[in-house]
């Protein structure tokens, strides 16, 4: 049956159903929220805005369509929350303004009302961004104009909704961040759910609102990935390397012995990694988590039933390929990503520390393994960046780095760090936004802000500055000078530390080598904290050979 006119009562029902449909989808919409700020509250905000409009409509209870619209718009304005809520309130403000005098709405008045809503919203927003709720509203309203000759409100609304959905599907083409994450715009999705509610009432249908509208695991995963992608600028920053998804079919037998409690299970898994999502119903348990050891999670899940599906992806690999794809695109001359810092070091822990500071490549080498000019040139080619900074971290390697800088085809600056701590201090001064020269200058300056101590052992009997040192003895070296020696590594280290610390000292970082244990490092730390109250100690496992301890004092 065709509907040619919508009265106040019908309009009220439409708004109610639109609000109800939005409400049951709000979590799902939250999960789509990546723009403008990925804080996951679009659905919640739109829902609260809408509720405020509905409350006003219900309190005023009118049979005059124009009045219903006006009450609704007023309620929306009062309760507008978040960007999408504010835009929604503006859309309906324009809408209701256009029909405020009409007792009943026709296709014609609906069409002009939708258009007026769009015009009002575009005026209200300072910098309208396409690919958002605005675009969806605009396209739907444009479609409405084409349908002016249609008499039946049902057909009209069907076509408008169809266009709104099509427009929503196009939002990723207009707003790059959506495409990147693989979602449609959250606010646009919200508007579509409202229109769906409108149509359902016109058609006399009822949309079932149940828990089935909760976001799917897939949607939640996309949101989580986007949030974590925000913080992982370089591959090396990925702490948990495997994106792991497990689906388990609950087994009643097993559950009787080993009852499943979602909260407990979630808390347990939370300790293994991040970006955790656990979704379960009576039959199935679905898990998404980023972990370093996927096996552990699979084992945990299997305790409740049989495995249905497992997906494990290496995110470091993925990230590297994304980055290299980005690098292969046309080089943006001034984009900050064309920077690379290359350094030299030994030990997996040392590498991790440097990578965490933003170093792109670490050439293996050091005191007894000096990399050649060729090694540097190879690394420069590998990182494929336009601006390069070399941190040799050893006085014997500075020359090779300088030569590489001379022959390289891209811009290279050498910051002549002579020790690992100097290299780290230089990295703190590095800023991708600054020019190569500014960086080189700031990083050179930073070399002076750190003091280096090293504890290593003598490879033969020797005498330096009148101090006899036997083969195998430990030596504490402050900058270039031997300040302690003897057969006890902890004594050599303590004396070295005493010599390094002065009034300016604030933080002492111990990087212990492959020949030492964490326990030993902690004992050194206890010594420092009991003797020097104001010093903060930080301990890292460097896994480096040759040097029992590398110590930086800042």
């Amino acid at each position: 049956m065709a509907i040619n006119h919508i009265d106040g009562e019908k309009l009220t029902q439409m708004l109610l159903e639109g609000a109800a449909n939005l409400s049951s989808n709000s979590q799902k919409i939250d999960a789509l929220n990546v723009f403008p700020v990925p804080d996951g509250d679009t659905g919640t905000n739109m829902n609260l805005t809408m509720s405020s409009g509905i409350k006003e409509v219900q309190e005023k209870n009118s049979s005059h369509a124009g009045s219903v619209g006006a009450h609704f718009a007023k309620g929306l304005l009062m309760g507008a929350r978040g960007n999408s809520g504010v835009i929604l309130s503006q859309l309906f403000r324009g809408f209701s303004k256009a029909v405020e005098k009409e007792e009943q709405l026709s296709v014609e008045s609906l069409a002009s009302a939708l258009q007026n809503g769009v015009d009002t919203a575009y005026r209200a927003v300072m910098k309208p961004v396409e690919g958002t709720i605005l675009t969806v509203a605009k396209d739907a309203a444009a479609k409405a104009q084409e349908l002016q000759k249609e008499k039946d409100c049902i057909v009209f609304m069907e076509k408008v909704l169809e266009e709104a959905k099509a427009s929503l599907d196009r939002t990723p083409d207009l707003l790059p961040v959506l495409k990147e994450v693989g979602v449609v715009d959250s606010g646009g999705q919200g508007l579509v759910t409202i229109y769906e509610g409108f149509l359902a009432v016109l058609k006399g249908e009822k949309i079932t609102h149940n828990a089935g509208q909760a976001p799917s695991l897939e949607e939640l995963v996309k949101f989580e990935h986007h949030q974590s992608a925000q913080s992982h600028m370089s591959t090396e920053d990925i702490e948990f390397g495997y994106c792991t998804e497990v689906m388990v079919k609950f087994d009643e037998e097993i559950l009787r012995k080993n009852p499943y409690n979602e909260d407990e299970f979630r808390n347990k898994l939370d300790e293994y990694g991040d970006s955790l999502l656990v979704v379960s119903d009576e039959d199935l348990l679905k898990i998404h988590i980023h972990v370093e050891y996927p096996g552990t999670v699979i084992n945990e899940a299997q305790q409740y039933g049989s495995l249905v599906n497992i997906k494990v992806e290496n995110m470091r690999e993925q990230h590297t390929s994304i980055l290299s794809e980005e690098q292969n695109r046309e080089p943006a001359s001034e984009s900050p990503s064309d920077y690379a810092v290359i350094t030299v070091g030994l030990g997996s822990g040392v590498s991790e520390l440097f990578k965490g500071l933003g170093v792109k490549k670490i050439i293996e080498g050091g005191q007894t393994m000096n990399p050649s000019t060729q090694d540097f040139i190879k690394a420069i080619e590998e990182v494929n960046a336009e601006k390069i900074i070399l941190l040799p971290n050893n006085s014997n390697i500075v020359m090779a780095a300088n030569q590489a800088a001379d022959v390289a085809e891209v811009e290279v600056e050498v910051v002549p760090s002579k020790t690992l701590p100097q290299g780290m201090a230089a990295m703190l001064a590095f800023n991708e936004e600054h020019s190569l020269q500014e960086n080189a200058e700031a990083m050179k300056e930073a070399l002076q802000h750190v003091k280096t101590g090293e504890v290593t052992y003598a490879v033969r009997d020797t005498s330096i500055n009148g101090v006899d040192i036997k083969k195998g003895d430990f030596m504490g070296i402050s900058e270039k000078e031997i300040v302690s020696s003897g057969s006890s590594v902890s004594k050599a280290a303590k004396e070295l530390i005493d010599a390094l610390i002065d009034e300016e000292s604030e933080i002492l970082t111990i990087i212990y080598g492959e020949d030492r244990t964490e326990d030993e490092a902690h004992k050194l730390s206890d010594y420092i904290e009991s003797k020097f109250e104001d010093i903060e100690v930080e301990i890292h496992a460097g896994h480096q050979p040759l040097y029992s301890y590398i110590i930086s004092v800042e």
């Binding site: 700020v37 990925p38 804080d39 509250d41 905000n45 304005l77 009062m78 309760g79 507008a80 929350r81 978040g82 960007n83 504010v86 309130s89 503006q90 005026r123 209200a124 927003v125 300072m126 949030q227 925000q230 913080s231 992982h232 600028m233 370089s234 090396e236 920053d237 990925i238 702490e239 991790e352 520390l353 965490g356 500071l357 933003g358 780290m424 703190l428 001064a429 800023n431 991708e432 936004e433 802000h449 604030e506 933080i507 970082t509 903060e536 930080e538 890292h540 800042e554």
Partner: protein
């Protein structure tokens, strides 16, 4: 002649008494813990907020005032004083507050003499500008002169802040260009600031509080040297550090006006406890 009225929002973190004394109208944002909603600084004090932040399991979220809230404030001022209104707000890169105020302005149209300004700043970095403007207004300066001074202050005001952890900025999607700092194993004290667009960016990375303080002082010396200054330090549960910082500032600079204030719930939800923010603007008197 009636005086110019100054409006701001609760994120300027202006102490209540000062706002009252200078007749600054403060429009509150909202803080939400799950289903519970609070008005920033109205029914949730900073102390209560940080207590809740520690005890609640949900992360708080925040929301801008509605256009309607602004409309009502502007209309009330217009009716009671019929004055010129200047409304100065939180960086539009961090919040939709400015957008809401702008919509209210569009709605009211020409009927009300109103300037709405995106301060591109947060916390007392807005506060110094608002307070300076309100003082000019109280002295009876005309709107044009106050606007000229505000525009000058928008260029000259600088803010540096240090957070205890980047977690809050990250979780709320406000980390801006400081996101690269998140993965570091070394404990780094980033000195953050707001750029010309009003986004968070890492000004510099240092290790250790003392170094951070020295670095900020050095930068202020470079920026302002011997100029007389208005300094505002806002903090979240770091009053001792705030006072010490002000003491050090006093030794080195010609401070004409100073304020130490709490970072309110809304900004607090985004930076977390243990944050110290130092805002400076040169004074012209």
């Amino acid at each position: 002649m009636s005086k110019v009225m100054i409006v701001t929002d609760s994120t300027a973190d202006i102490p209540g008494e000062l706002a009252e004394k200078l007749e600054i109208q403060v429009v509150p944002l909202k803080v939400h813990f799950g289903e519970e909603a609070y008005e920033d600084g109205v029914d949730l004090s900073p102390e209560e907020f940080y207590k809740k932040l520690n005890s609640e399991s949900v992360m708080p979220s925040t929301s801008q005032p509605t256009p309607n809230q602004f409309e009502e404030v502007y209309q009330k001022l217009h009716k009671e004083h019929a004055p010129d209104i200047i409304s100065i707000h939180l960086s539009s890169k961090l919040s939709g507050t400015f957008q809401s105020a702008y919509i209210a302005q569009q709605t009211l149209g020409e009927s009300v003499s109103l300037e709405v300004i995106d301060s591109k700043r947060a916390s007392y970095a807005i506060g110094v500008i608002v307070v300076e403007a309100a003082q000019m207004a109280q002295q009876g300066n005309p709107k044009e002169e106050i606007m000229a001074r505000i525009n000058k202050m928008l260029e000259d005001t600088n803010v540096f802040f240090m957070v205890d952890t980047l977690e809050y900025l990250q979780k709320n999607g406000r980390i801006g260009k400081a996101s690269a700092l998140v993965g570091s194993l070394l404990k780094i004290k980033p000195i953050l600031s707001l750029n010309a667009e009003g986004e968070v960016y890492p000004f510099e990375k240092v290790r250790g509080n003392k170094k951070a303080v020295q670095r900020i002082l050095a930068e202020f010396t470079k920026l302002y040297n011997a100029k007389p200054l208005h300094v505002g330090i806002s903090h979240s549960e770091a009053e001792k550090e705030a006072r010490e910082f002000m003491d050090t500032m006093r030794e080195q600079f010609d401070i004409r006006q100073e304020v130490i204030t709490n970072i309110g719930p809304v900004i607090g939800a985004h930076v977390g406890p243990g944050t110290l923010s130092i805002a400076v603007t040169p004074v012209e008197r």
